[in-house]
């Protein structure tokens, strides 16, 4: 975060490794497939990632805070389920149903934050509990049935500007806004400080509880927003949505250089992490690689991306 290099060099340094990795991936897939490099395909990828971006953004903030949230995927499932049920069974209008879904996300996040603070529990375990509970709740409210909603919700995803869907633009706005929040505001500074040394922050007169609670609620709401987007893309709410998303989100954040020890991370770079994973998945599917090969390559690329990032950091500053 700190550095004495001029701003532009700093920026390039921040993103260079990731951009090189991304360019390399795109080149490889561009050369080995016919249509990968087409505008349509890249737009297709862009329109697939919004929910992953939102969830990874929330996860990055939680990780910067020195905590973890394993429940993001389940909360996505639960919020989507509520949206689906609200529209298909209770026939609520779309705005109300969306508000309900977001509220569900906020409540789950608040639960995570409050319970872990009240009893000073590791958030790993509280959110692991929430992972189970929210998934159970998603199945309970839907009766484990995918709720087909139809175009009533689909129009959210269909709106587009310059071929980029509304969800993609929303995700971009959220990323930029969160980045600014973390870098330019008191709140962000507190988050970083708490993630670096919570005790020192507390003794400096910061109340870590408010910050923690806000970050967890924010993450819950972002997961719910992702649920709204997914539901509108599929025009259906699936109680299994978001299964295993937590590891993906963490992987994206870590590829983007976020530290699991807290205090270090950047939402913008997480965004690139998400894009890298999405391009990789999409490229492998375009090649039509066998499933086991896909896994081998995905694993190797995740590790390679982080290695590249380590060299980048060496270039910019010596490791602490």
């Amino acid at each position: 975060m700190a550095g004495t290099t001029p701003a532009w060099r700093h920026w390039i340094g921040e993103f260079l490794g990731l951009l090189i990795g991304l360019a390399a991936l795109i080149t490889v897939f561009g050369l080995t497939t016919d249509h990968f490099l087409s505008g349509t395909h890249l737009r297709t990828i862009a329109n697939q990632i919004p929910s992953a971006v939102l969830v990874a953004t929330g996860m990055t903030c939680v990780l910067i805070l020195g905590q973890i949230d394993l429940s993001v995927g389940s909360v996505l499932g639960f919020a989507g389920a509520m949206l689906g049920v609200a529209m298909t069974r209770w026939h609520l209008p779309l705005p109300l149903a969306v508000a309900l879904a977001l509220a569900v996300g906020a409540i789950c996040g608040a639960f995570n934050g409050l319970v872990s603070m009240r009893w000073r529990l590791p958030t790993f375990i509280v959110t692991l509990g929430m992972l189970e509970m929210a998934r159970g709740a998603a199945h309970a409210v839907t009766g484990s049935q995918t709720q087909y909603i139809g175009s009533a919700v689909g129009r959210l995803a269909d709106a587009s500007i310059l071929g980029f869907s509304l969800p993609f633009l929303v995700a971009l706005v959220v990323v930029v806004a969160t980045h600014i929040l973390m870098v330019k505001t008191v709140f962000g500074r507190y988050t970083v400080a708490i993630g670096t040394n919570e005790e020192a922050a507390r003794l400096s007169g910061i109340d870590p509880r408010g910050v923690k609670l806000s970050v967890f609620i924010g993450t819950g709401v972002l997961s719910a927003l992702a649920a709204v987007i997914d539901t509108s893309r599929f025009q259906a709410a699936n109680p299994n949505a978001g299964l295993g998303l937590e590891l993906n989100a963490i992987a994206a954040a870590v590829i983007g250089g976020t530290s699991l020890m807290g205090g270090r991370g950047s939402v913008l770079r997480t965004f690139l992490g998400v894009v890298i994973i999405a391009v990789l998945n999409s490229g492998l599917a375009a090649i039509g690689a066998k499933d086991e090969i896909k896994r081998l390559i995905t694993g190797a690329v995740i590790i390679a991306a982080v290695i590249v990032d380590v060299y980048r950091q060496r270039g910019v500053r010596r490791p602490a």
Partner: protein, 517 residues
Amino acid sequence: MSPAPAPSHPAPVVRLRGVGKTYATRVLDGIDLDLFPGEVHALVGENGAGKSTLCRILSGLTPATDGGMELNGQPYRPRSKRDGEGAGVHMVMQELNLIGTLSVAENIFLDHLPHRAGWIDFPKLYQRATEVLDRIGMRDLDPRTTVDQLGVGPQQMVEIAASLWRQCRILILDEPTAALTEPEVKQLFEQIRNLRAAGVAILYISHRLEEIRQIADRISILRDGRLVGTQPAASLTLDEIVRRMVGRELGAESFAEGRTAGAVALSVRHLRRGHQVRDVSFDAHRGEILGFAGLMGSGRTETMRAIFGADQPDAGDVFLHGNSQPSRFRSPREAVQSGLALLNEDRKAQGLFLSLGIRENLTINALHRLSGFGGWLRRSDETSVVRSWIDKLAVRCHSPDQGIVELSGGNQQKVIVARWLFRDCDILIFDEPTRGVDIGARFEIYHLLADLAAQGKAVIVVSSDLLELMSLCDRIAVMSAGRLAATFRRGEWTQDKIMAAALSEHLAPTRATAASA
């Protein structure tokens, strides 16, 4: 200047020639230094002069950028601390480096745990640890205590104990006494003298120049990364050391003049917390500096933490500004909002944000003064504030965004002091504010504290350095085993009286072990 030879020892164990080190800037340049067996060689210099860096090079923690070293006439190029230790060079580092979850005994013998085929011989371990602790006067410390249950002082003693049992040829002590009170310092010096008699060369760093005059045979003075000179200790007066260190006269100033104590700002009544704080009551007035003296573990830190809401007291009340309603702070945040400040003794664990820069570390608790609507930070305002504090306290750094880890220990301390000064509180509690701070900057801090008091703020200083308290305070409260044993006004006290009060509760000895924990 060429190093002055120590007359009685013809062959140096270590010979440094032209040693230099460059990070972003040049921090050490052309150091020539000889260490002779059986001498205590003191290294003095301002914060950031390069003392710790020199020690790190000598012990193998970091390589020199240029120059060479010889050990017993052989070229010496340690590539790791292990290398250095293999060659008989040991070091007690400036910052505590203990393993909190392990026991005292395990920490002392960590790299030489007595074992049979990998099985630790615990009885032997504890017995040897007890012996080592005995030697430095820590008889009361149970070697099975987990280290993170100890305060900074005992931890420092454990750290020292971990180096004293070693068979070494060179022992480097980087500010070992910064958190210690007089009895411990005495014990340490006794051990140092024993080692000296056994022919060990000791490189000793401290900002307490009185100590240096007591223990050192020769003194090397560093300024801005250069060696100003090496001389026999007997040939240097205190003033001369200071002048050559700082490059100017500091003069014999008093920091206790021209103040009149005003109304009561803070009064504490019957405060209790566990065994460390037992019925403590006192008043602190506006416009005065109240000192807290006491032995290590006497409960000063615990008292201040309980007042500040960092720990919850078991009983007792805190009144602010003569209010009849007690203010009990449930968190440090409430205390800060009511105008209290507490600078912690353990800067690494409780003060610093190690992976952040000077900026973030300095402004963290006064961001409301640097932000506008919605908490938007005014970065340029912040930069100028940070710069002004860097200037005011002479923090040695090359940019406000330099990582705090890259600063020398004393400069880190200054940043934290600046944090609380900038926050602008009415009642300031400083626990060991000059721990590791050089004499020049110490005077700066004294000036600042005196100014604050003169402005009508209440200042409380907890310090293990009695001389510091005596030159700074209007009153000195002395704690002994958790009780307030006595309070002296300026003029009433003598060093002996204070020590007697500090020991008063120990006359009926109780084991201060962690049996209660």
